[in-house]
């Protein structure tokens, strides 16, 4: 990460020579890291583990619909009705199966617990103990664990629901009209943000339930990611990365977002670096930039190819980046 933390004048303009290109063979649904190996989940049932060698694992009997990962495993939900955990050694374990249904969402919990959804039902499986379920008013659009503990945010039509699966308390409903898809917690748990069917984000400040509407995008926002420390929320959906300020307890209300890395091409995917205030920004033509928030400095990480960037993932120490595209090519950059 020396290149990123040095001054702009000394930064190389490109790190494309460090890119190990990967021909993955099918559209990339999600990516992560297991140890030093980059992991790619493909639309067509396979998981590819890429490091010094490349290994392919047939994790599902159909399309992979959703992906979540932690340091120990990558969780995938498929249209074969299965939730599968794949470990760094390529071994797989089926955690749940319901034939004839789709596993629309999966989320890896901080303590080894797992959440997933089947239609209108959210499931929570603790590391040890009984699985619990919650029925929602409409299909689950997104699932996310709170940064600490086992509280879950569940996005759906008409808002989001906050659920403590281990408590008797009634789930708390955060109402806002429209269809909510992705959901994300602020790193310190003060805010919950959803991406919406229309080109906008919605947020709630949990302290007082205040609504935050973040709009103005030309297209739907498919990716959002908090920068290290949670000062900015980087988002796709425009011809530049849109970063909403979350440094104060008010959040972005009444403030303008920062706009970085403009191009004549839609930003399709963003992923914030885990340690520095830097993010990876992928575009519809397959180009990837690393962008530093403080001064907008850009480094070219990948030249255009292979359709829209559909997955970006940093290794937990920030020392490597996995890139996947809709047309099934990608790469691994070790910095």
């Amino acid at each position: 990460m020396t290149a990123l933390s040095s001054s702009p004048s000394s930064m190389p303009s490109s790190i494309t020579s460090k890119l190990q290109p990967l021909d993955l063979g099918d559209g990339v649904v999600g990516a992560g890291f297991l140890g030093t190996r980059a992991v790619f989940a493909l639309g067509s049932r396979e998981i590819v583990l890429a490091g010094e060698t490349v290994e392919r694992v047939a994790a599902h009997n159909g399309a992979i619909l959703s992906v979540s990962s932690d340091a120990r495993r990558i969780l995938t939900g498929g249209d074969d009705g299965r939730v599968v955990a794949t470990a760094g050694d390529g071994s797989t374990q089926t955690l749940f199966e319901q034939k004839g249904r789709w596993i629309d969402q999966v989320a890896a919990g901080p303590d080894g617990s797992v959440a997933f959804s089947v239609g209108k039902t959210a499931h929570f499986q603790p590391l040890k103990g009984e699985r619990r379920t919650l029925d929602l008013p409409s299909t689950v659009g997104g699932l996310a664990f709170a940064p600490k503990g086992t509280r879950l945010a569940i996005a759906h039509y008409g808002g989001a629901t906050l659920w403590f699966p281990n408590a008797q308390a009634k789930p708390e409903v955060l109402a806002w009209k429209g269809s909510h898809r992705g959901v994300l917690w602020h790193p310190d748990g003060r805010f919950v943000i959803t991406t919406m069917q229309e080109p906008a984000l919605h947020g709630w400040r949990l302290a007082d339930g205040a609504n935050m509407r973040m709009s103005g995008y030309p297209a739907r926002v498919n990716f959002m990611s908090f920068t290290s420390g949670g000062r900015f929320l980087a988002t796709s959906g425009s011809n530049e990365a849109i970063l909403w300020p979350f440094a104060t307890k008010e959040g972005p209300m009444g403030k303008q977002p920062t706009m970085l890395a403009p191009r004549d091409m839609r930003v399709s995917c963003v992923a914030a670096h885990p340690k520095d205030e830097v993010f990876a920004c992928g575009y519809d033509d397959g180009l990837v930039l690393l962008v530093r928030v403080s001064d907008g400095a850009e480094i070219l990480a990948r030249a255009p190819a292979g359709g829209p960037v559909s997955a970006l993932a940093w290794r937990a120490d920030g020392g490597a980046l996995a890139i996947g595209t809709q047309e099934g090519v990608g790469g691994l950059i070790v910095l």
Binding site: A63, G100, S138, S179
Partner: protein
Amino acid sequence: MPETSSAKIPVTVLTGYLGAGKTTLLNRILSEPHGKKFAVVVNEFGEIGIDNDLVVGADEEVFEMNNGCICCTVRGDLIRIIDGLLRRKDDFDGIIVETTGLADPAPVAQTFFVDEMVGAKTTLDAVVTVADAKWLKDRLKDAPEAKNQIAFADVILLNKTDLVSEDELKDVEMRIRAINPFARIHRTQRSEIAIDKVLGQGAFDLDRITAIDPDFLEGGHKHFHDEEMQSVSFASEQPLDPDKFFPWIQELTQREGPNILRSKGILAFKNDPERFVFQGVHMILDGDHQRPWRADEAKTSRIVFIGRHLDRKALEQGFLSCAA
């Protein structure tokens, strides 16, 4: 055709009131030896005895967009399902969406215009409505959904024709025509029909909006009037002024959108060598230049509305006042 549009996956929407014969038609489409594979989106798994990996259950979740407009609705479950199906797009040639007998086809059609991802990767081919020749007339009286399905159709299978006389058949066809003179009607028994009369219709394809015949209503065919739902069509030999037409159609559909189910037009604008085609579902409009006018064709602008309580005179005056 440009590469991008031919690469889109065609979607056929099957609709029809309860018991009309939708599922029979679906089974026929899937079991005919046409060499094509379909992903099928259904509400009920029960009746479908087909051996197909790609049968997906739908919830018919209709979403209002967050713009406060009651008729700008989309099917949220379809967006999710199509997104998921596209991950294995090499596994099939087309998608068939079977709606429930009580469903309004508009949110399905609007999904293909409103959702960017869905619109970029799929194309709505046609709304195919199965109608029961014996009971349709009754349903048109007591079930607004049945009327919507007829009004919305591009292709109508007038099914169970063996249960009624020829006179009754003609009568029910005229009632259909009073609502929707533009759909292609096929008489069928047990939903038996050649697959190429149902699939590959291109009815929502801007390049293929050709089924607009403004003389149809003037030829004395219309023996019935539907007091509630009707279609109106107008033609103009005068070239139109785009600066008049677009504000007019936008204002009209914003105001009357809930009543206008479908609209279509082929337009000749002044000093514009190309045909402009548009279509709409309620308030949602889609339009583009199609191709140059041919030397041998009259540059006639034609426009059609199918809807409820349409003010024919006001619509005609509005359209004609768009002349350049």
